[in-house]
Amino acid sequence: MSPVEVFSTAHSPITDPHVHVWGWEIPVYLFLGGFTAGLLVLSGYARWRGRRDPGPEPSFALASSWLSLVGLLAISLGMVALFLDLTHRAYVWRLYLAFEPGSPMSWGSWILVLVYPVLIIGVLFAPPRQLRERFPALARLKRFADDDRLRRRLGLLSIAAGVALGVYTGILLSSLGARPLWSSGLLGPLFLVSGLSTSAAFVHLVSPDPEERLGLLRLDNALILTEVALLAFYLIGLAGSAEAHARAAELLLGGPYTAVFWVGVVGLGLVVPLVIQVLVVTGRVAHTPVASILVLLGGLALRFVIVYAGQISHWSPRL
């Protein structure tokens, strides 16, 4: 990742230029990071409550190893996207030579060091058949999975790693003070809730357990409502703040990103799936994968809009 932060006390478009350096890689990374964070929190909670994979073979239920594998795959794809964005790829290892408490990127790097082992342990607790056949020694790990106390501790660790990862994806942006659209403490909770919502939608899509699916549907409805409220507070906060913040909010409230934000993120990504899922929960329509897919696409669209619009938000009075 190579963010270009421009710190300037001048208010001239020449000395305080418009910098657009982040392409598709960063929104994709933030989305996959938030999605993995959500999976960690949800599966961690299930493990902490003592739940186990219901099938004789690993399934895609909440406390399953397959879901940890999905998380591992998602965060790894996100890391690939992040790596593609880096300017000095050969020096990425230097992030792990120091810990800078004031740097969100340093926090993020070390949080990822925690996330990977938690996900790998989640996979190894009940390894998929293909892995067991290839590596018979893995079958011995089952006794660890049968230890309730150990499983509950893994659950707590998973929740902690998930919350840290989810909040970090938002704080990464909000710490870059050069862009007023990102200058809000609500981005962390917003991205965490969005990550939880997308992961709940995904597990609802793939879980074999009808009771679990219904519970996730109800949870996702609550998460979507929370996300709508956070988005409202975020925009109200910006619009009522200093002039630069108000103009940044205008990018989504009448400016060039208005249509894609209100139609893509709010309409298709939040309101429509919420309506469908409420109808499903109340028994008026049958289960459909469409709502889950819309939630996932809406989560991705949110990152694209916030990252792209944020880069053209500016402190200068006029561009």
Partner: protein
């Protein structure tokens, strides 16, 4: 995975079983027609534009072409008309309207329990044959819409509501052409 899924699902109590309801019949076409007219009126009042469909596909094709072959897209008079100098080609009223149509159709289908993955066809025609005929029909429709500068929704519905003479001629030709062509493919639906 399928066997696992079945075992896990069956092992659970039936109290959360998903409801199985019969598909509801389609709405009375006269009632739906009045509804469509009110939607058209609402579109004029709320956004100052009528309804359409083919324009959304033109915008999409122009945008995709501009990504793959930008020089060609901008030199082609038809495609260039859908590529604004400032702003995204997909930021067009008809694109958002068609998205709304898809969402409305989905909600309607879900409420009537008619959503499924299927190819609607008559008893005499195979799936491949039905898709091939639909593809040919789609190509003819695309040419027709380009020649007539609008499709059934843009010309007949919106233009007709505005009492445009050309749009009324278009509508009469559409009905005439449809009846004449239907004779050749009528057996596919019987």
């Amino acid at each position: 995975m399928d066997s696992v899924t079945t075992v896990a699902a069956d092992a659970r109590p039936a109290k959360h079983a998903e409801p199985v309801r019969a598909a509801q019949p389609y709405t009375n076409p006269y009632v739906a027609g009045i509804g469509l007219g009110l939607v058209l009126l609402a579109a004029f009042v709320l956004v100052g534009r009528g309804l359409g469909a083919s324009g959304a596909f033109n915008s999409t094709i122009a945008w995709v072409t501009s990504k793959l072959a930008p020089d060609y897209a901008h030199s082609n008079q038809f495609l260039a008309g859908y590529l604004p100098e400032d702003g995204h080609p997909l930021k067009a009223w008809l694109v958002f309207e068609v998205l709304g149509v898809a969402v409305g159709a989905l909600l309607s289908g879900l409420l009537a329990n008619r959503v499924s993955v299927t190819v609607e066809r008559g008893p005499r025609i195979s799936v491949a044959g039905r898709l091939a005929l639909a593809f040919v029909g789609g190509i003819l429709m695309a040419f027709g819409a380009a020649f007539a500068r609008g499709c059934t929704s843009g010309q007949a519905l919106t233009g007709g509501a505005l009492l445009n003479l050309g749009s009324w001629m278009f509508m009469l030709c559409v009905f005439g052409g449809a009846y004449a062509t239907a004779w050749f493919v009528r057996r596919q639906w019987r």
